[in-house]
């Protein structure tokens, strides 16, 4: 069985390391980390992920800009994105209808099991 490629873009190296370990331990995913937001789009082109876990607030380039750039590229505009963000409350998440720019999002600190549920669900509906 081929593994689903997951690109994890977040400027917090420790967070990306832990999440990668967790996802690796599940065995179904091939995870690549990108901590430099300015290299995120290039990483997508090169790695061709099945899904992107994308932090919102990052220096230089935020998650919204990265999503917007990918939207203009026919090859990647259908790649599912799940936002991970630290500056929203549960109430704000509900208010936004659980969506930023049409993409679902999870509030940090994320429950790793919930991340997996989101990934699998998005991959199923994208398939």
């Amino acid at each position: 069985m081929t593994k689903h490629r997951i690109l994890l873009v977040d400027d917090e190296p420790a967070f990306t390391r832990v999440i990668k370990r967790y996802l690796d331990s599940v065995g179904r995913y091939e995870v690549r980390i990108e901590n430099d937001s300015t290299k995120a789009v290039a990483a997508v082109r090169e790695f061709r992920p099945s899904l992107i876990l994308l932090d919102v607030i990052m220096p230089e380039m935020d998650g919204g800009e990265i999503a917007a750039q990918l939207k203009t590229d026919a090859r990647f505009k259908h790649v599912p994105i799940v936002f991970l963000t630290a500056i929203v409350s549960k109430e704000q998440v509900q208010r936004q209808g659980d969506v930023i720019g049409g993409h679902p999002f999870l509030a940090k600190p994320v429950d790793a099991e919930q991340v997996i549920r989101f990934i699998d669900e998005k991959l199923r509906s994208a398939a």
Binding site: A14, F15, A86, S89, Q92, I100
Partner: protein, 408 residues
């Protein structure tokens, strides 16, 4: 007319005489012993005593003040008290000896009265001005407090976003790390498993505080919709049902009159209701009765938040919807009542309260242009009262609200 009055009297010529007699001022000549030696028609008119009565008598018989060197005199005439202005001139002989005095007396009673009336007038207009100044000072103070409050909220909003970002990221590392360790150590020693659970709980607790802060900051935006208040109350009570059952508490729901549909941000008002009900439940650890009462009332007298001015949140005569939440606990100590709405003020044990619940509630109710009051009941226990305008439409409520787009 010239009268002969004795050997020491001079006879003025007719011109001087007519000045002497016709002048409104009283002209009095006194000898060295202060006895009257001449008394003009004016003096007769002022003092009410004829020349014949005055001649040879000391001036002090008619005017106790003028007898001295005072410049102001006083005379009684027909029950009236007259105010006199006296200009004294000393008359000296060629050798420099004092021959006597010439005193010119002017009745200034009317002028003083006019002056007094003018003073009264000025005082009145000063009082009016002062009143207007006080009112505008009060209004300025209210506005200033509102500005300070909104500046505070704005800075709390900025602070909340940056604190959330800086704290939630490390919390995210901790939580994912704890979950990873738990998954990697399925057969760990029970002590290890328990420690990991404790760590996880601590992360959730810290995250709860940040969440409260974010909610507090986010409570500056409203999404109004027509809300059936009775339904909203019922739904809010459902949210605390478990807490009520766990503590075996009685719930009393009183409805006095049908509340109208009001423009409210339903999730936010439910949040306020839950905050108030949880506080009431926490105040009764040994059980008791939680009363939730809804009623319609007309404001009949001024009080907290109720007055006659434009700046008062509510005005006398207005119809309002009231929601009251009462407990049968020990009541609130006075030193707590004064700070009860302060952000981060809590009496709950660490980990049980963020100290933001009532601060958030007050902000939310304020945004609805309503009021929230917490007080001790005379019969014991505490009461929280929410008050909203009963006749308000969404359009009216939105009138004063500046657009405030949600931030990411």
């Amino acid at each position: 007319m010239i009268e002969e009055t004795g050997p020491r009297t001079r006879s003025p010529d007719t011109t001087l005489s007519s000045v002497f007699e016709g002048s409104a001022e009283g002209i009095i000549l006194l000898d060295a012993e202060d006895r009257v030696i001449e008394w003009s028609g004016g003096a007769t008119r002022i003092y009410g005593h004829s020349r014949e009565e005055a001649l040879g008598r000391p001036l002090s018989m008619f005017d106790s003040e003028a007898a001295t060197l005072a410049l102001m005199g006083v005379a009684h005439r027909g029950g009236d008290l007259l105010s006199l202005f006296i200009t004294p001139h000393r008359a000296r002989g060629q050798d420099g000896r004092t021959l006597g005095m010439v005193k010119i007396v002017r009745n200034v009673t009317d002028e003083r009265q006019r002056g007094h009336l003018e003073l009264v007038d000025r005082e009145l207009s000063l009082k009016n001005t002062l009143g207007a100044l006080r009112r505008s000072h009060d209004e300025l103070k209210t506005t200033q407090l509102q500005l300070i409050q909104s500046a505070k909220l704005e800075s709390i909003g900025r602070l909340a976003a940056s604190v959330a970002h800086e704290v939630k990221n490390p919390l995210a590392i901790l939580l994912a790390g704890i979950q990873f360790l738990k998954k990697s150590l399925p057969d760990a020693d029970p002590g290890v498993a328990e420690t990991l659970d404790d760590l996880k709980e601590a992360v959730h607790r810290a995250n709860g505080v940040i969440g409260g802060l974010l909610d507090f900051a986010a409570s500056t935006e409203l999404r109004l919709e027509p809300v059936n208040v009775e339904d909203m109350i019922t739904a809010s009570i459902q949210l605390v049902r478990h807490a009520l059952q766990r503590r075996h508490m009685n719930l009393e729901r009183e409805q006095r009159g049908e509340l109208p549909t009001l423009p409210l941000d339903r999730p936010k008002i439910e949040q306020v209701m839950v905050n108030l009900m949880i506080n009431a439940i926490d105040a009764m650890p040994d059980g008791g009765t939680l009363t939730v009462r809804s009623s319609l009332a007309q404001l009949t007298k001024p009080g907290d938040d109720v007055g006659y001015r434009r700046t008062d949140p509510f005005r006398v005569g207005e119809t309002v919807a009231l929601i009251e939440i009462e407990d049968t606990g020990p009541g609130i100590p006075p030193h707590v009542l004064g700070r009860i709405f302060d952000p981060f003020f809590t009496t709950k044990p660490p980990g049980k309260g963020t100290g933001l619940g009532l601060a958030v509630s007050k902000t939310i109710i304020g945004l609805h242009r309503g009021s929230i009051r917490i007080e001790n009941r005379p019969e014991g226990g505490a009461r929280a009262t929410l008050m909203f305008r009963a006749g308000e439409t969404i359009k009216e409520s939105l009138h004063d609200q500046a657009p405030n787009p949600a931030g990411g």
